[in-house]
């Protein structure tokens, strides 16, 4: 064929199957620990997990988190502890989705969803406040108009947190060392992780930390 072999190359492509994803209509499955946009979790009784400690803001390398804590009112507490996150803002024009905030959080309040398909028409929309970040009464992420959610995508909201809990210590693999979440209960460890459940007590009961 020589110089004309290009014609054979192009015509054979016509009969090969396409690999193109129909992206806005369908999405390729993402890994369970994918880092997407954040949610602020709540306990199973509806209380907020965030205690306003600002560790996430301190660890954030992009300095995109702004937190202000406030004392809980005794007759109408927002979180189980003494204080709660009064202001919680994440600027998604700066966030690099490194998940250091998730690892730093002592109460598993902030975790990530797998959603990265969001874009803004205004800079103001890029700054998520508690209104957008806090999960709703079913424990699901609140879907914003500029976010592209497809069905079932908000099921995995804390896989990375569970994988790194607690303190990233391998001795705790396959042990539940995390609290329950609103709408999901206490989630199971990921499948395929080794270890002997029950060999070590949980960190808050005298285990390794």
């Amino acid at each position: 064929m020589g110089r004309l072999s290009g014609f054979r190359v192009t015509i054979t492509q016509v009969f090969r199957p396409r690999v193109t994803e129909k992206f806005p209509q369908e999405k390729r499955p993402k890994p369970p620990r994918f880092h997407g946009r954040h949610v602020l979790n709540r306990y199973e009784d509806g209380m907020e997990k965030c205690i306003g400690c600002e560790l996430c803001a301190g660890v954030c390398p992009a300095q995109c988190i702004y937190v202000r804590g406030a004392d809980n009112l005794t007759d109408a507490p927002v979180s189980p502890g003494e204080r709660y996150g009064f202001v919680y803002e994440i600027n998604y024009l700066r966030c690099i989705h490194c998940d250091l905030c998730v690892e730093a959080c002592p109460t598993e309040a902030i975790t990530e969803t797998k959603l990265f398909e969001f874009s803004f028409a205004r800079r103001q929309d890029a700054i998520y406040t508690k209104d957008e970040l806090l999960v709703d009464d079913e424990g699901r992420a609140r879907r914003q108009p500029w976010e592209l959610w497809l069905g079932g995508e908000d099921d995995e909201t804390s896989a990375w947190m569970r994988a790194t809990s607690s303190s990233g210590n391998a001795a705790y693999e396959n042990r539940v060392a995390w609290s329950g979440e609103l709408g999901f209960g206490v989630r199971e460890p990921e499948r395929g992780q080794g270890g002997d459940p029950g060999a070590l007590p949980a960190p808050d009961q005298g285990g390794v930390s």
Binding site: G6, F7, V9, T10, I11, Q13, V14, R16, R18, V19, T20
Partner: protein, 404 residues
């Protein structure tokens, strides 16, 4: 091939009974139909090209606008129409504004001579289904493709900018070079048909039986001319792999860099109109135009066989040729400019000329009842000898380096 008698020696029979208002009405309607056909064809061709190239690159291509993305070109056109356009400060304003229309006008006018259907009767009038059938026929095509390059040249010159100028100089040099090869390859057809009129050429290729496909359609009797015509037409329309006038790696887009919005769209339109026109001319000259087998179970003179079937054959052949052009676009990388000139001047012009000469000898031989088994090889050998002699006169690679 056997030469057939032309039943219409006087051209389009529409004008046989003088010029009255009905005749003028016919012409106006035909003009509108041809114009609409060409515009719709361009819209469809751009979509078709993108889809086929996507096929050949294992992609899906445009699929959002309308079913199968068929309205994509329309959407692009509307977008371009509403875009802002600016004129460069150093542009020669009247010429700058005129250039796109020169391009488009020539492209449209060239299509006027293409027979896209059979010979139809409407009331007392009989007419060819083509806009015009001038006795100079094919020469009109050469003239129009020559004028079309004025659009490119004026655009490049009047933009007042370097890259467009270089692009337009390249385009005019290229068209000049390949116009000769194309004209000579057409001579290879004209020797067979004995007429310049496109309708006459098509009538010579009338379908009689399945044997007409190889004996009467000129693609096989004039196979050399056919190949040369396809290459030269590709170069003439600035189609890849010969799209030097807009070589984006070198010239950042060529002659239309300084154009935006609807004026850019008109250049685009003209380019694809030229492509379609050239394909239609290839169909006319070599593939029998609208001729083809008719539906045997229907009345031979019925409206289906007179109106629909020839148009169907023409469009089918046209889209087959257009598919080939897209295949070419998808497969071959752009040549180097000196290789383009080498191909044009050192190969195609000589080959087309010698093919026309040999064909002429054979046709005359048939006419005079010479022994073709002797005449054909003798003519071919003579042609090869002439070609060898010409190549000896052309400086070789080493001599060219010495000159430099």
């Amino acid at each position: 091939m056997t030469r057939l008698a032309n039943p219409f020696p006087g051209g389009d029979p529409l004008f046989n009974h003088g010029l009255d208002l009905t005749v003028i009405g016919f012409v106006i309607v035909k003009t509108l139909i041809v114009f609409g056909l060409l515009l719709v064809s361009v819209l469809l061709y751009i979509w078709f090209m993108r889809k086929v190239i996507a096929d050949m690159q294992n992609r899906i291509g445009p699929d959002q606008a309308g079913p199968f993305g068929i309205l994509q070109t329309l959407a692009d056109g509307i977008k371009l129409f509403f875009k802002e356009h600016s004129t460069p400060a150093r542009a020669d304003r009247p010429v700058y504004l005129l250039a796109p229309f020169v391009s488009a006008l020539a492209a449209f006018l060239a299509f006027a001579i293409v027979p896209f259907g059979g010979i139809a009767r409407l009331g007392t009038h009989t007419t060819f289904l083509q806009l015009a059938d001038p006795p100079v026929g094919v020469l009109w095509l050469l003239a129009m493709s020559g004028i079309g390059v004025y659009g490119v040249m004026l655009a490049g010159w009047s933009s007042g900018s370097k890259y467009p100028l270089l692009g337009s100089v390249r385009a005019s040099a290229q068209v000049l070079s390949y116009e000769a090869a194309m004209g000579l390859s057409i001579v290879g057809v004209l020797v067979h048909t004995g007429t310049l009129s496109t309708r006459g050429i098509v009538l010579q290729q009338t379908w009689q039986n399945w044997h007409s496909f190889v004996s009467q359609w000129l693609w096989l009797p004039a196979i050399g001319a056919f190949v040369i015509f396809l290459i030269a037409a590709t170069a003439e329309t600035n189609h890849p792999p010969f799209d030097f006038s807009e070589a984006e790696e070198e010239l950042a887009g060529g002659y239309h860099i300084e154009y935006g919005g609807i004026r850019f769209a008109i250049f685009y339109l003209a380019e694809f109109m030229n492509m379609i026109t050239m394909s239609a001319i290839a169909v006319t000259l070599f593939l029998g135009g609208p001729s083809g087998p008719k539906l045997g179970f229907l009345n031979q003179g019925g409206w289906v066989n007179v109106w629909i079937v020839p148009v169907f054959w023409f469009l089918l052949k046209l889209w087959v040729v257009l598919y080939a052009t897209v295949w070419l676009r998808a497969s071959l990388p752009r040549l180097r400019y000196d290789l383009l000139m080498d191909l044009g001047w050192k190969v195609l012009i000589e080959a087309a000329f010698l093919w026309a000469m040999v064909t002429g000898v054979i046709v005359v031989g048939q006419d005079q009842h010479w022994n073709l088994w002797i005449v054909t090889p003798a003519a071919a050998v003579a042609a090869l000898l002439v070609y060898g002699f010409l190549m000896m006169c052309v400086p070789g690679k080493r001599e060219l380096e010495d000159i430099r």
